[in-house]
């Protein structure tokens, strides 16, 4: 007697994934690349996204400063020294005539010796857009005269006032941004290269290399940065051309900033070098530079970028501080720090407070970089 079940084989084609079929939506998430996942995670940090946009816009601006600025960097309006910020109006005597400014009337207050300006409210002067104004050399290469926004015909427009030589603050702020913002980028590049090389060697080789590097980092980190920066930039020869001074300052900024990055690289490498794929690469005869560069670095690049974006602001602040003290960049090179150096005279600032305006972009950019860095740091590890 046999009550065994008959042997059964289904004819249907076998698909092992039928049980947990992925919807296209899930498929997209599971198969997403690392960078894509970081982007998704980054998008959740609203403040970081906004900061990113602000920074992108600023960097876009500094590429086309010549076009955005209504005046040139050194255009002097000798009749309008210390002119106050003008306001833009839209309606004149109940009639809409688009954005315009009132011309300024100048009077010297003989009691305080303050230069006082008042609006001449009878005579609206419309601001021109997409127009031709001051001649410029775009990046010193192509000459042109096209501006997004120009002062009125036969008139002046100082939306943020002028300085002691009658130079428009809007234009100077924009041109200053070109220097201040690139100082951070160049400096971080130098510090990045140094940090990766030194930290990479320490982390990969270990032993005495690691020990030496660790001691050096400890010593460098225990020193107050600013006095050292000051001493180093005071050592730049006085007869250097502005471009050399600019490069010198960025190098100085980068030279003292790498220990933090090197430390991050080292600790990551120490953890990663024990992984099997590193052993495999080594057995296949890859030299250390290739193992570090091709296999290990991509693994923690995101962390590095995040920590780099957090140290850019300190460089921008460093340059501002140095130039402010008169040890950094010198006119005619104009950065936000150079502009602020003019605000050192507190009596002048008390009369003409708009001299302190360059503070604003500094604070905004530094804040934005901090938020962006926070967002990037959170996003750097998308598998959490």
């Amino acid at each position: 007697m046999s009550d065994k079940l008959a042997h059964f084989v289904s004819d249907a084609p076998f698909d092992p994934y039928t049980i947990e079929t992925l919807t296209p939506e899930q498929e997209r998430v599971y198969m997403a690349s690392r960078w894509l996942m970081m982007w998704w995670k980054f998008k959740l940090h609203k403040l970081a996204v906004v900061s990113g946009i602000v920074l992108l816009a600023s960097y876009f601006c500094i590429i086309f400063v010549e076009v955005f600025a209504p005046y040139n960097l050194h255009t002097r309006n000798t009749d309008y020294l210390f002119a106050p910020p003008q306001s833009v109006h839209l309606i004149h005597e109940g009639e809409f005539i688009g954005p315009f400014v009132y011309p300024l009337k100048f009077k010297l207050n003989l009691d305080t010796l303050k230069r006082e300006y008042s609006d001449d409210a009878d005579n609206p002067q419309p601001i021109r857009f997409f127009c031709s104004g001051d001649e410029y050399e775009f990046w010193g290469l192509v000459s042109g005269s096209f501006h997004i926004m120009c002062p009125p015909k036969d008139g002046k427009m100082f939306l943020l006032g002028t300085d002691r030589l009658g130079r428009d603050m809007v234009s100077r702020l924009l041109y200053g941004g070109r220097i201040s913002l690139t100082v951070g980028l160049l400096g971080i590049t130098i510090s990045f290269i140094l940090g990766i090389t030194v930290g990479g060697m320490a982390g990969y080789f270990g032993g005495w290399v690691d020990n030496t590097v660790q001691r050096v980092i400890e010593i460098l980190r225990s020193l107050p940065e600013l006095p050292l920066w000051m001493a180093l930039s005071a050592a730049l020869p006085v007869n250097w051309s502005p471009v050399y001074v600019y490069l010198g300052i960025t190098i100085i900024l980068g030279l003292l900033d790498w220990p933090g990055l090197a430390r991050a690289v080292r600790s990551k490498l120490l953890a990663l070098r024990e992984e099997d794929y590193v052993t495999a690469a080594r057995l296949m005869g890859a030299p250390p530079s290739r193992i570090i560069g091709a296999h290990l670095l991509p693994n923690f690049m995101s962390h590095l970028i995040a920590s780099a974006s957090l140290s850019i602001p300190s460089m921008i602040l460093g340059e501002t501080a140095l130039s402010f003290l008169g040890l950094g960049l010198r006119p005619p090179v104009t950065s936000w720090g150079v502009l602020l150096a003019e605000a050192q005279n507190i009596e002048a600032v008390a009369l003409y407070p708009w001299l302190m305006l360059p503070m604003l972009p500094v604070v905004i950019v530094v804040l934005a970089f901090n938020f962006l860095g926070d967002g990037l740091r959170d996003a750097a590890d998308p598998y959490d």
Binding site: L228, A234, V349, M356, M359, V363
Partner: protein, 332 residues
């Protein structure tokens, strides 16, 4: 413990030696020395050069010796309390700096105290009231404090004081006490003026400290021993003070390492802006006029201040946290 202290002292001394060499190299970087600049300046003005004096100075400080010998002349002078000669003031550095070093120390020390006193309660409040309005507001203020460079803050304060009070809040004492011998009245006057620079310098450090304390405390408060404590019926206040707060104090002290260089940096530039009679303004002018030994002394002093501060913080940490391995080597 004694072992550890000795080891740390040795490390500190070695660090100081390296730092002094670094400082010396940095101040020797500008081409030429003060004397060549000085002679050129005098000659351009058509004045007679006192060759004897210059020759004396050159010999005294070995300016014609090779660099490494100059370094030994300089550093051995330090050991004897001779900081070198300020060419600009034609006085020994020790006489030029006068009270500045003490005032710098007072300023930096008060700032550290200020940072702790302010950051501690705010950090604890932020962590215990996470995501409340107070927390958000304080966090925002802190971020603003982090992003505003202290010298700009000083500038704004100077401006506001000028506008609303018509006075200058610069300086560290009332004018009548400057260059006067120390009296109680002078000390009091310094205390009255001290708080402005202290707040200005301490803001960024305080903001950073609050952020770290908040993060640490939040981490600790999620740990299981806290849950255990709570389920035993400990009151919230007692629970907080007894365990997580103590744990989060640790980084608080270890942070002196990053706080001190920051404060010293800040005090230099803020002093220069507010013209305080500390090391800042004089370091600046010494650097600009290539007054080698004066600048070097200030740099060395500031570096020593931070290195010594870190030494103290390490010792404190070792006393407070038994988990830290004192021997530094293998675990027994």
């Amino acid at each position: 413990m004694l072992h550890y202290v000795i080891r740390r002292v040795v490390i500190m001394c070695l660090t100081l030696v390296v730092v002094s060499a670094l400082v010396f190299i940095v101040i020797q970087l500008p081409p030429g020395d003060y004397l060549t600049t000085y002679i050129a300046e005098l000659e351009s003005q058509g004045e007679a050069v006192n060759l004897e004096k210059i020759e004396f100075l050159r010999r005294q400080y070995g300016l014609d010796l090779p660099l490494y010998q100059q370094y030994f002349v300089w550093i051995s002078g330090w050991v004897h309390g001779d900081l070198g000669y300020s060419f600009e003031y034609s006085l020994p550095v020790t006489e030029v700096v006068g009270d500045r070093l003490y005032l710098s120390m007072v300023l930096n020390f008060s700032t550290v105290i200020f940072v702790y006193l302010v950051a501690f309660p705010i950090g604890v409040y932020s962590a215990t009231h996470q995501y409340s309005w107070g927390d958000h507001g304080l966090t925002f203020l802190g971020l603003l404090g982090l992003a505003t460079p202290n010298f700009l803050l000083a500038l704004v304060l100077l401006y506001l004081a000028n506008i609303y009070f018509g006075t200058s809040i610069g300086g560290l004492m009332d004018p009548e006490f400057i260059d006067q011998p120390w009296t109680w009245a002078k000390a009091l006057s310094i205390l009255e003026h001290l708080w402005v620079p202290v707040v200005v310098i301490g803001t960024a450090g305080t903001a950073g400290m609050i952020r770290r304390l908040r993060a640490n405390l939040l981490d600790e408060m999620q740990k299981q021993y806290v849950v255990t404590g709570r389920s035993k019926g400990l009151s919230e206040g007692r629970l907080l003070v007894k365990y997580p707060l103590r744990m989060s104090l640790n980084p608080f002290i270890a942070d002196i390492g990053s706080l001190l260089p920051q404060i010293v940096s800040g005090s230099v530039i803020v002093s220069a802006v507010m013209s305080l009679p500390t090391t800042g303004p004089m370091l600046l002018s010494a650097l600009q006029s290539q007054d080698t030994y004066l600048a070097g002394s200030f740099l060395m002093f500031l570096a020593t201040l931070t290195v010594f501060g870190m030494f103290v913080s390490d010792l404190l940490l070792a006393v407070l946290d038994p988990r830290i391995r004192l021997d530094g080597g293998v675990r027994r």
